[in-house]
């Protein structure tokens, strides 16, 4: 028998937790993952936003009008099923366990049950609620990181994601007044953000666009040179981002990425300076000089050069390297499908676990549990006859974080809102019955 055939036949419970599973092995792992680990009840509680049927003011159709989509991979094929919907947690659980999708995406809440959309006129099927979402990929920073590229990441460049979380999370809470925000590791090279306040869910496309543009500072395609231009004093949001996060992170970045030690690397920075005389003076002095960044800062900040465009040059450089680079289109659309938390990333085997924004510097993408690791832990617990063995695996901490930092406060707010809306409606009915 060839080695390949042997591997195919092996017992999925005997695993090598360092290997990323593929093909039918992945499917076997997923079956166990969906059987024992995926938190159906928590996901339902989240997406029902309080409409769990327990209060007379609930909308029992709400959960059923949410679109999910499944990506199902078999050995030969990949099938993409849109417009999946479920009446309750139990139906969702049954469907996921039966189909074993390699990816689950969450879409919008529509006017009617997506699975039944054909029964309605085209104009009757529209998205009406959807979380405000953000998607940040570290591969969009390939031009400023030298340790990794593409889908890879390491502890040297991951701080870019930490910065992004800090800047955006702060703005969402302080500037926009949102509080129910979930950050999720995307499983390989980035993070997703779900803003779940009811105010956020009801934003129109135009308003989402406005928010996306508010955050859009790093602009330009492959052919423009300077992606960040500040012509005057910074808006309070940008000033805060600079002072509280970007300035210091850039100093660290200079050292971890050795930005001033290699010619091609500091040449890129020099290209951002719109004054030829400054650039040539620096280039000359830097032959063999190692304190370049200090020198550059001094020169640009001294104000001795009166060229227009130099006043904010330091900030422009810092922002170009460290400011969050969002995929704007993801935020602008109302029916963009985004991967669900607690999925398994098929490329890495890692679980898409939540990240606590208050402790995001501590998050280590290289130590996120993998599906293989979880199954191994499950085996170990079972073999010693422990009770509640799932809760003794590495996933428990993530589920706990999801519940305490996000789900519980959210449900409380939703219940309060439902209660208020219901009382208002009852009062109005009473009033209208009075002659």
């Amino acid at each position: 028998m060839t080695k390949e055939k042997e591997e195919h036949r092996e017992d999925p419970m005997q695993i090598d937790s360092n290997r990323v599973p593929t093909g039918s092995l992945l499917t076997d792992y997923l079956r166990i993952y969906y059987g024992k680990f995926f938190p159906y009840t928590d996901m339902f509680k989240w997406l029902a936003y309080g409409n769990d049927g327990k209060h007379p003011g609930c909308d029992s159709s709400y959960f059923g009008r949410r679109e999910f989509s499944f990506t199902i991979k078999s050995d030969r094929d990949e099938v993409y099923l849109r417009f999946q919907s479920f009446f309750n947690a139990s139906e969702m659980e049954t469907s996921i366990k039966a189909k074993c999708p390699t990816k689950i995406d969450i879409g919008a809440v529509y006017t009617v049950d997506p699975a039944k959309r054909h029964a309605y006129a085209q104009s009757g099927f529209n998205p009406i609620e959807r979380e405000l979402v953000f998607d940040i990929d570290i591969s969009d920073y390939d031009d400023v990181r030298y340790c990794c590229s593409g889908a890879d990441t390491c502890l040297n460049c991951w701080p870019l994601m930490t910065i992004a979380i800090k800047v955006i999370d702060t703005a969402l809470r302080e500037d926009f007044g949102f509080s129910h925000i979930l950050w999720v590791y995307s499983g390989r090279r980035g993070v997703h953000c779900w803003v779940c306040d009811s105010r956020a869910r009801r934003l129109s496309k135009e308003q989402r666009s406005a928010i996306a543009d508010y955050f859009h500072v790093y602009k330009g395609g492959e052919n423009s040179l300077k992606k960040v231009t500040f012509s005057g004093p910074l808006h309070p949001f940008l000033a805060r981002a600079y002072t509280d996060a970007l300035k210091n992170e850039f100093e660290k970045w200079v050292s971890t990425q050795k930005l001033f030690e290699h010619e091609e690397r500091f040449h890129k920075i020099l290209q951002l300076i719109p004054d030829e005389s400054v650039v040539s003076e620096l280039a000359e002095k830097w032959q063999g000089n190692s304190v370049r960044w200090e020198h550059l800062k001094h020169m640009l900040q001294s104000g001795s050069k009166k060229t227009q465009g130099l006043r904010r040059c330091i900030e422009e450089i810092v922002f170009s390297y460290t400011y969050p680079r969002l995929d704007i289109q993801v935020t602008k659309g109302m029916n963009h499908l985004l991967k669900a938390p607690f999925c398994v990333h098929p490329g890495t085997g890692r679980i898409c676990i939540p990240i606590d924004p208050k402790k995001c510097e501590e998050f280590d993408p290289t130590s996120v549990p993998t599906v293989a690791q979880l199954i191994e832990e499950l085996n170990a617990n079972a073999s010693i006859g422990a009770d509640n063995y799932v809760e003794k695996t590495s996933l428990a901490a993530s589920v706990h974080l999801f519940r305490t930092c996000f789900l519980e406060p959210l449900i409380k707010t939703c219940k309060d809102e439902l209660e208020n809306a219901y009382n208002t409606m009852m009062q109005q009915t009473k009033d209208s019955l009075n002659w």
Binding site: D143, K219, G221, E222, N223, H235
Partner: protein
Amino acid sequence: MEIVRSQRRNGSDGSGSSASLPLYKSAPSLEFRLEEFGQYAIDRLRVLQAISDGLSRGKKPEEMENLVSEQWRANMKHQDADKTLRKDIISHFVLRLVYCREEEMRRWFLSMETALFRYRFRLQNAEAQKSIMNELQLQYNVLGNAEYETIKDKLTEAARSVNFTSNPEAVFYKVPFEDVPELVASRRVFILKGFAFVPRNQVVSLVCTIFRSNISKALALTNRKWRAMIQDQEKDRIAPMVEALGNVYLGPDYSKPKDCAEISLKDINQLASTSFPLCMRHLFGKLREDHHLKHQGRMQLGLFLKGVGLKLEDALAFWRAEFSQKVGAERFDKEYAYSIRHNYGKEGKRTDYTPYSCQKIIMSTPSTGDHHGCPYRHFSEENLRAALNKMGVGGRAMDDIMDKVRNRHYQLACTLTFEATHGTSCETGINHPNQYFVESRKFFESKNKHSQPTA
């Protein structure tokens, strides 16, 4: 910078009262003649088209104010202010009928009418503006002193980031940020805990958002009414005029190429180097080089090729030939073929998408890894020069083009490129990449005809 010039102009519409800037809340019960129906609409349409042109050339707000004032005076104004108002109202409602019928038309009309309203509002004096705001039922909180004190510094900081030497504003309106999306998008206001603090000199944005939303709802209603009864009732009288008016200024949208304009795959390289505008040449070149394009690039180039006459089967073959070199034929069929068929209206809700106009392309926002957009706008000067060099443009023509670019006249720059590469003048100016292609083919075809040897 949006400063309301309340001192300099005293209501160029004559009266200064809000009666001179109507909100078009309901259809007027006025009587007018059928000839007025058509003529008034066309006059207003000229104004809207001029606004459309001005916006796509990136004119600054002060320039737009002048443009609107001139256009209004030239096309709409009457000596008698009442007659002007009458024409204003009638023409608006007639155009509502014309432009309510299709989504793209609604979007265009809405944008242009909002722009027209915006600049006319700016030209009103303070009294008139206040009375318009009351009419729109703006019960907005003027920011109280106590709260003002706590955020004074941030308000100043925000104001200075917009207009570097502004004097501190006295009056602010505290509104939910959802009500001023444009100000939020361009970071022109300070926002805190979900509220935007709009200074008096930015109140235009607030007013326009409400105006826009009202007209948008009205358009949807008009559309339903048109379909349900008016179209039928008026099929001998107004309906034919409405149809005709709808074709007046939008021009061809190049979504259905004429039969003789079909192109085949073997010609495509040649056509790209002689007749594609720079934006499409660049995308085409990148596709050949990288065997890949990101989504917006695929849309911009793909729809252009459809407009140029590339049939679906040929399009699939073309994209597959490129993409399969990078991702493999199987992945192409699974992941990319669907969206090409989608562009041709063969999937999903079967909309037949129209190729992007220059205005749309100029307004797009290319990001990391993108090659779409308008090179005259989105390329650095160095990259643009290099790209134009490759097209054979140099010397004096290059300088003229760069000059246009620096003044943000992107479509004029493209027109000059056309003229430089074809050795002929382009009277109409370029508004659409497919128009560039059509003009180019016309030129080469007539050149070939003239050079045919006679028997």
